[in-house]
């Protein structure tokens, strides 16, 4: 019941967003963040 009410709350919020005509999301996408490539390092004597 509680979950259902929360859901109704969310739907109301979303619908109001629509009614206020905030419009579609406009966003351009960034690439993925860059990570260091190597992962393994030596812990033992070479």
């Amino acid at each position: 019941m509680k979950i259902k009410k929360t859901l109704v709350g969310f739907i109301s919020l979303a619908l109001v967003l629509v009614n206020l005509n905030l419009g579609f999301t406009t966003f351009v996408f960034g690439g993925d963040p860059t990570r260091p490539t190597s992962t393994v390092y030596s812990t033992l004597r070479k």
């Binding site: 929360t6 859901l7 960034g30 690439g31 990570r35 260091p36 030596s42 812990t43």
Partner: protein, 437 residues
Amino acid sequence: MVKYDNLSIGENLKRIRTELGLRQYEITGGEVTRNLISIIENNRTSLTEDKAKLICRNINEIMEDKGLDIIIDPEDIFNPDRYNAKKQANLYIKELDKLLTTKNYNIEAKYIEEIEAFLNKWNLIDKKIRVYEILGDIYFYLKDYTKEYYYYTKAWECAFNYPNRKLNYRVMLKLVANCIMTSKYKEATNLCDYAILNKENVPKRYMGILHYNNALAYDNLNLIDKGLEQAREALKYTEDTNYRELGKILNTGGNCYFKVGNYEEALKSYNKAADVLILGDYCDELSLVYANMTETYVKLGYEDRTLKYIEKVLNNIHKLNKSSNYFSKLCTQIAIAYNHLNKYDLAEKYYNESLIYAKKNNQQDIVKNNILDLLHLYDKNLDFNKIHVLFEDYRDVILNISLDGDVLLLLKTLEFYISNKDENKALQLIKDLITNN
């Protein structure tokens, strides 16, 4: 465990030195005599704590110069069992490294607990950094960003105990990448800004990456000036032949210009990005740049060019691996463009496609944005049934929205109004709230 029973302190020092392949004169560092090392190793004099610290510092410097991630603490010399424990920890690390390199990510929680308990017993902080980093790597490949964050954070906290450890920047950069993937942009910029202040510890070739990630995070925080500044810095450190990185940096620069409405500059940056990415044949990033160009042309009102770039993306999209994080972004961008062109069926198709892969790849922000866009699309077409289905299908996403104090207060208020059949007050509250923000 390897056993070395009843070793004296001198014998233990000799064992550590020879196992690390060092000669007596090498560990003097010019601060103690080779003769002293010799008589300590032969138990003819005792080792003081100060001398042990000096010897350890010299050993650690040599290890660093050799590029080995080995740290010897004075306790390792005084307590042979502790050094044995370090060797056992190395075996654990070797095993974890093997899992990582063979892409065998099925790791049992019990095994992790066993390793953690062992490291805690001996308080082997340097080994913890390594273990937590590998565990973070494993969860990165499993796309479990929450656990990845957990382990990298632990590794980063441990790294503070060894501020001069050269490989600390690697943990930090991985943590930054995780923060960006999980929309913790403020934390990402804090980490990057901290590292930039201490940049003598970061190798030059990683400085470009550091500035690029920082630019990405600032761009997402809509701090555009900072984003552009960081993108410019990133370019300074990136080699002319590193086409992928250059393309990503230029794309981020383009996004910054886009967000401030400078579409001409955005297009210039995107075009430069496309040029370098074509040189390197980096299809994923290239498609992303084309996708961003579609939206720029939408903004400029160039319908024919929008369609041309949608086509370019669609021609490339089949080359992409569907587990790529870019796949969902491209689908969303195509959907946005079709939406602007009033081709709603196609827009719906690509939003849904994006949703499927964003969910699979655990890209929460894209999932939420797509749900909102689909909601708007259905509302525009008065298709309320589909809105109900949408909320049912993505109920788990809504239920996982994190509730801080503010949101909880809002929901409680809404719950009260709705349960008392006072929907108008609930709606008014939401409207007021949005207007005030």
